[in-house]
Symmetry: C2
Subunit: 328 residues, 2 copies
């Protein structure tokens, strides 16, 4: 067994409470503190988390829930959140929901028990349900807005507007939008962006995709070809890459015959062929910012109840090789 606070106290010739104060930054004589710190070091003292948690009621960890750990989009958010959490010396619990609402509920409940606060990425549940689940403790939502909860989102409307302007400048007048999953908050926002970008003389046709995956993109590609659109904007890069794949198989040249725009700028977007023009969102920054908001909430727990406002991060169109001038 490793050294306990009592061991340190005995070795330093003081009481356990003095050790606790010395190490915890309480009011202690400087000389005493120096001795205690040294002795603790020598003994290799590590405070027992469980004991501390039992009394303080705080676990000293935060939780992060994403729909799918395998999705590179979420990986980057995770990286951002982890590095921020690490900076705050808080271990972070990462879990995924398999894109499933029931698992989401379950995972939130389980994470609550082991953490002081939660980062919820792209949650699937309804606003009401989430509000209820969030009541269990400090919560920050990423990639979605839920009334009453602090959130970090990207500026979908601006990203979409940039893409449409880009396509407009290239002469496109009929653009297909391959949608996200039914009920997706992000998809809703992007549709709004599409609808509000008028005055460019671009007509939008919608093509459904059931899941935000490569396979849905493959499926969608054939549908897109029936619409007469000369360009496609996909809900995300994975779908766009699926579209690319199917187009290549059918002999449709990109961008010569059809332009393709993705969304998110995952790493794969610059590895596929042709390299994908896409609306980049600052994924890592979203993660770190969300973690930051959560940590700040925890710090002032109970102090003031001024909520963090939601944060809107900019989207940027990255032009690569999958978009080009419309051909006669």
């Amino acid at each position: 067994m490793s050294a306990t606070i009592t061991d340190v106290a005995r070795a330093a010739g003081v009481s356990p409470s003095t050790v606790s104060r010395a190490l915890g930054g309480g009011p202690v004589n400087d000389a005493t503190r120096a001795t205690i710190v040294r002795v603790a070091e020598e003994l290799g003292y590590r405070p027992n988390r469980a004991a501390r948690e039992l009394i303080t009621g705080r676990t000293g960890t935060i939780g992060l829930l994403v729909p799918d750990l395998g999705n590179p989009y979420f990986s980057e958010i995770i990286k951002g959140a982890s590095s921020r959490a690490r900076a705050g010396a808080l271990p972070i619990f990462v879990s995924d929901t398999d894109e499933d609402v029931a698992r989401e509920r379950e995972a939130i409940a389980s994470l609550r028990a082991t953490t002081d606060g939660l980062l919820l990425v792209s949650p699937r549940g309804s606003d009401e349900e989430l509000a209820a689940l969030a009541a269990g403790g400090p919560t920050v939502v990423v990639n979605r807005e839920v009334p009453g909860l602090p959130a970090v989102i990207s500026d979908a409307a601006s990203g979409i507007a940039q893409a449409l302007q880009h396509l407009g400048a290239l002469g496109h007048t009929r653009v297909a939008y391959v949608t996200g999953p039914h009920g997706s908050w992000s998809d809703h926002r992007r549709r709004e962006g599409l609808a509000s970008a008028t005055g460019l003389g671009i007509e939008i046709v919608h093509v459904p995709a059931a899941t935000p995956t490569f396979h849905s993109g493959v499926l969608a590609a054939d549908l897109v070809l029936t619409t007469g659109a000369t360009a496609v904007i996909a809900f995300n890069d994975l779908i766009a890459i699926g579209v690319l794949d199917r187009l290549a198989a059918r002999g449709v040249r990109v961008p010569h015959d059809l332009s393709v725009v993705g969304h998110d700028d995952i790493a794969m977007a610059s590895m596929c062929s042709p390299h994908l023009t896409t609306i980049a969102v600052p994924k890592e920054r979203m993660g770190s910012m969300a973690a930051d908001m959560l940590l700040r909430t925890l710090d002032r727990r109970g102090a003031s109840d001024d909520r963090d406002p939601s944060v809107l991060l900019p989207s940027t169109l990255i032009v690569r090789d999958s978009t080009g001038e419309v051909k006669a």
Copy 2:
């Protein structure tokens, strides 16, 4: 505050210890147990983890350390491990090391404190260092063997042999191997596999890659073209996809002019163009098997000390569109 064991005891008219026994599977009168279970349910009783950990010394969680959360190869291992851990009702802590040895040490130490056992994926440290770190508690290593530790690895030699046979059958006699990072255990194994696959009349030339990434693959592609090889086997799919990208840029047709084989079969391998022939390893199964071994170790903690033997999982060549007959 949620209900405590004392609340349940009072409500059920028994002592706390009886509640503890009833819920923990101890010897209790059936009727008593039934009442207690019902009351606990009604009160929404959730045992306090910290209190339990304080007395039992077990955290009820396991840890998983990977080099890079953003690497899809590791994502799948994580998925396998998580689902196994979930089945055992153990939360799992996932963390990454940024491919950095110092961070690895640090992360292991930090995870040790909060978990009952660790899953180490592709650790970078030396055998001695790992053995020392592993001494801190139950440990299972994935993707590498460390003397004295249970491990889960894939059958590199067999995978390489299959690839070489495949290429041989297509008429290739000079094959370039794009290596993994210096000091990588997996890379070492694959080189051994390459060296031992004699009798096929295939000559191997080595082309170095500093990191297992797309960019290293791009870099390596030009080198490969100087070797006179008609086929490439890459350390992993990411490198192979980098090679593909650079070859396309240089107008080298795959597989017409050059065949390319990857390793791992990450999702991206069937999304790139052309679809990548690759040596598939059962990533998810490796993760779940490793978690399984760890959980079993925890269960019999102290009981018998018969160690789990290491497990070797099969590799399988998946032939797609990036390999073809050698052209005159």
